[in-house]
Amino acid sequence: MITMSNFLWALTAIILAPAMGALISGIDRKLTAWFQGRVGPPVYQPFLDTIKLLSKEKNIVNSRQMICVLVYLLSSMAAVFLFFLGSDLLLIFFVLTIGAVSFIAGAMSVPSPYSQVGAQRELMQVLTYEPLLLLTFVGFFLITGSFNISYILTWEEPLLFSMPLIYIALGFALTIKLRKSPFDISASHHGHQEIVKGSLTEYSGPQLAMVEIAHWYEIILILGVFALFWSTSVTAMLIFLSITYLAEILIDNLVARSTWRWMIAHVWPVGLGLIIINYILILGM
């Protein structure tokens, strides 16, 4: 149920989420640099980058790009808002879909070869992670009997114990969603890969900054979803989330980029297999 305190909590989340997201990606960069034996930028570098981007001159190919970026940003904001409101997981899933679709439409709206390849690959990424994400949410339902986040949070014991395999499958899904290696197929952080920056190639200045901010919201949302696996105590949750995200960073640095063919051919069977086995375990118990 929506109460005033929930509403205020969600509102706070929406204001604080970009700051948190930026901080996390700052830490991410610092750690990555450390792994690679570099000093790396200061933790607050993502803020500086984004502020600089925001102050740059707008430069676009067509007006549809602006609409798409805006819808992308709004949808990730809405998803974070709904999440902290304690709303329905399926609803959040569908709101996230709006963002994903709009992001792809934005990339496809430009007659640019790099952006097109990026968009096509992004489609394949969506195809791969969407079912896994949806089935994870169904997993929550199978155990708790509800899709409602506020209800799931009241569950007595950490859900990780009943759905460990789903947790791993979700790890795949969210690595793809965050476009981290080995699934940084459609666009990467660096502009010097074979498809330049893929689906991000045609964005610059404020538009690129908006994509970045939307990405921060997504990081927070994803951590939120992971938090559902261990929501019994705050400390435990924080430790669990740190471990999860550290694992993400570690994998990001350890593995090389895969191709989308490899991704579909492996992530689908493995992810689905894990989820199905976990379903059987849940239903069998």
């Binding site: 676009i60 879909t97 439409a105 640019s112 070869p113 969407e130 949806l134 190639t201």
Partner: protein, 638 residues
Amino acid sequence: MNIESLSALLIFLPIFMAIAGFAPNLTFLRSVVAGMTAVLALGSIILFIKGPFAFEPVSDMVSWHSIFSFADFILLGIMFIIGIRYRHKLISILVLAQILPLILIKFSTQKPHFFEASIAADHLSLMMVMIVCIVGSFIVLYATEYMQKHALKMGTSPLRTGMFLFFLILFLGAMNGLLLSNNLLWMFFFWELTTLCSFFLIAHDRTDLATTNALRALWMNLTGGVLFIWAIYLLHISGLPLEIHQLTKLGPLPVLLLPAALLCLAAFTKSAQLPFQSWLTGAMVAPAPVSALLHSSTMVNAGVFLILKLSPIYQGTPLASYLAILGALTFIYTSAIALTQNNAKKILAYSTIGSLGLVIACAGIGTPQAYSAAMLLILFHAVAKALLFMGVGHIEQLIKSKNIEDMWGLMERFPKASLLLVFGMISMFLPPFGALISKWMVVHAAAQLPVVVIMLALGSALTVVYWTRWAGMLVNSFNPLTGEQRFKSPLFIDIPLTVMAVLSLALSLLIIPVYWCLSVPMLNIVFPEFADASKSGALMENIGAFMVYPAFLAIGFTLLIMKKRRAEKSMPPVSTPYYSGLNRKDHSSPGFTDPLGNFIPFCSENYYLKKYLPQERVNAGINAVAIGFIILLTVASL
């Protein structure tokens, strides 16, 4: 006007007006069709407002039952002649297989059936009647314009075009009759009438392909007819009533199970479910109005309508589980195949079959939430598909191609038509539009059945991909749309398209009232225990779906900003896309100049994953699986 005459009007007006299709004068034809649209739309709305009803039509001279018996034999006779004319043995055999039980029923020595109410309607029928009358009529209106161009292109005579419009209008009457009949024998007549109409409509172009596909549609639907009439015969010899309402009142009796299974299988043929999907994709050779009519508001809806109507009979039996699995299987299969297609109409066709699969899965799941999801899905799907098919038909006439690869950058050439098309696609799969709300409810309802939900999850991701891809390539263009000569569609194409888009938007915005007016009264009847629960909090769980409103706000907000931007004329500087430094200086068309000075235009193509999903192999496999399930289903209901 009383209910009796109103329902007679909705059935017989199109049947008698059909002759107007031959009118040589276009203005006359259009005013007649427009008038009919207004009368039908108004009539169906009044009928809906008056609410459910049931009555037995009386006539002074000949009883209606004898008239329908006569008509049955005439209809079957026509189809038999078609079978002979095209030397298609199977069709003739199937017709004979229908005539036999019909004779057995008509001339049996058993005491004649007493019909309480041959015509009856509940909220489901009334909703579908509204869809037929409003969406269907606008499609006929669209056809008056479309067929002019089509006749020029194909060189068909005015008589044949008239014939086409005749069957198109007749179809509306047949469909209304089907939806309003409570008497299974009458429903059978209208059922076969839609089959016959669709045969003539699909065969309209008289090419070899059209004839082959029309014959295939005919024999597959006749198979359904055979199953239908034998189900009636089974009911007849067991001395059971032949009225749907009475049958559903009996509840899940073992003796009812086999007839119910046969009727569901008949519905499978009509709704082109696995393994009968090929007739509907074959029907794509027909002109666009036929596809729009068959796919959105008529024909295919008849099948799911029957399945939903029968749901109290098979609830809780194995039949229900098989329906859920077969529906979900159809959904995932069609979504995967749609991904490999580049023919616009084929993509739409597969998407239709998939959506109907979802409806059938809902009927199988059989919770109140699933039932209302099914109803809402039929409604929103009808409107969106009408828009999409009419839009694609129009675009096809403009660019002379059905291939979506030829639609890159269509936004630049035909802004309004493309925008409407994109809207139609978005309304099929994204929140906050109705179709997605129904999908939300389906997943919610299916969550207890992991097998079904896994198929739904995979299928729904596939649908996202093929719609996004198509919508994305339509909006692909270079310059902002300024200063160009805007293309204007003909009025009678523009109006139906716009009306469908507005309807889709309005229904999505009014989703809560729609839910209360359509689903809740129906749920109260189908699920008696729901009637009590609806007074308490159980309904809120269903209605939680409509929390999607924030998304509406977000979209509204975006549009406002965009409008303000445009008002300020603060368009940012426009740049060319990145071509590795070889950009062209002028902004005329996308592309780059290579080192030798040649202009290389931009081109791009989609991934179709054909290698991973070879259609023939997938088809063979999936058909085998579907037939297996159908055998299981039949055995389970023996």
